[in-house]
Assembly symmetry: C2
DNA sequence: ATTGATAATGATAATTATTATCAATAAGGG
DNA sequence: CCCTTATTGATAATAATTATCATTATCAAT
């Protein structure tokens, strides 16, 4: 992702914090910067390990607290993968599908979900269920890893 | 699920164990019976709680060991849900989609996955990724819960 | 049916991840 | 700059999972 877009995202997050009455503190900024700078979804322990390179790293408790706050604000989302489901990623607007490289972990967000609406409608007719949400994730290899 | 189908599944599991050199023991049978009899995906701790009603329940360690064995044999699969991802369910033949009631937890397996192949092909062309696998899960309410 | 090699079990200790506690610190409005 | 109080860091507590090991039970071979 371009550095400009990263800063823009981070600025939006800071605005969101202040609007909701959260203070913008150094530990929170450290965690948020690690998240928005990452190419791959990160687990809490990943963030903790990365933070140890910083001059004055946040405590592990603050990392968990910041993640809980970001989740409450809807700014991050959980990513489910065969290897585990505790990794997070900046939340995307509306509903999107995920494309994950099984080799390098790189993740892309796919626009346009109307394509499978027909399929969902058919399932609703067949089963009598009322479908309110869906998860679609594609796993494979990116161009670099092929 | 019909009791006949449950017994059939359990018999197949026992055959699979013996074929792979695993012994068929009482703790393993107790765990497997709980799994195949359930209407909803179960977490390890769910199985442990249910097992406490039995005359001579298995130790918690044997429950985890049995789940690991069943997973190694490909007989169970992990189910991902918003509330957590540690629940398991008997593995289905080939690739299927999942339909889960957010209210009662009941789960159905949807046949026929060729419907979204066009969508996946389109994504591959757009992104250059080679998609090898995908997860599609639908969440909503079943007829009973509506 | 009995035996025997050894896989499997149960009880529990150890580990790992996450959450709660609380005195000390620092953000930010006035 | 000061003051209120949200937040932090250190650490204790909790919860889930895994490892350890002496004892037990499976099942193939007699
Ligand atoms: Zn998951
Ligand atoms: Zn890749
Ligand atoms: Zn239901
Ligand atoms: Zn599918």
């Amino acid at each position: 992702m371009a550095a400009l877009a990263l800063n823009h995202l981070l600025e939006n997050w800071k605005i969101a914090l202040r609007q909701q009455g959260y203070r913008v503190t150094r530990p929170r900024l450290q965690v948020m910067e690690i998240i928005v700078s990452s190419e791959t979804p990160l687990k809490p322990q990943d963030i903790y390990q990365l933070s140890l390179d910083l001059e004055s790293p946040p405590g592990i408790a603050s990392i968990y607290r910041t993640l809980e706050m970001l989740d409450d604000l809807g700014l991050i989302q959980q990513i489910h993968q065969p290897g585990g489901c505790h990794a997070i990623w900046p939340a995307v607007e509306g509903h999107k599908h995920l494309l994950i490289c099984s080799s390098c972990g790189q993740m892309r967000v796919i626009e346009g979900n109307e394509d499978i609406e027909d399929y969902i409608n058919k399932i609703e007719e067949q089963t009598g269920y009322h479908v309110k949400d869906h998860w679609l994730q594609l796993f494979g290899t990116c161009q670099n890893c092929s």
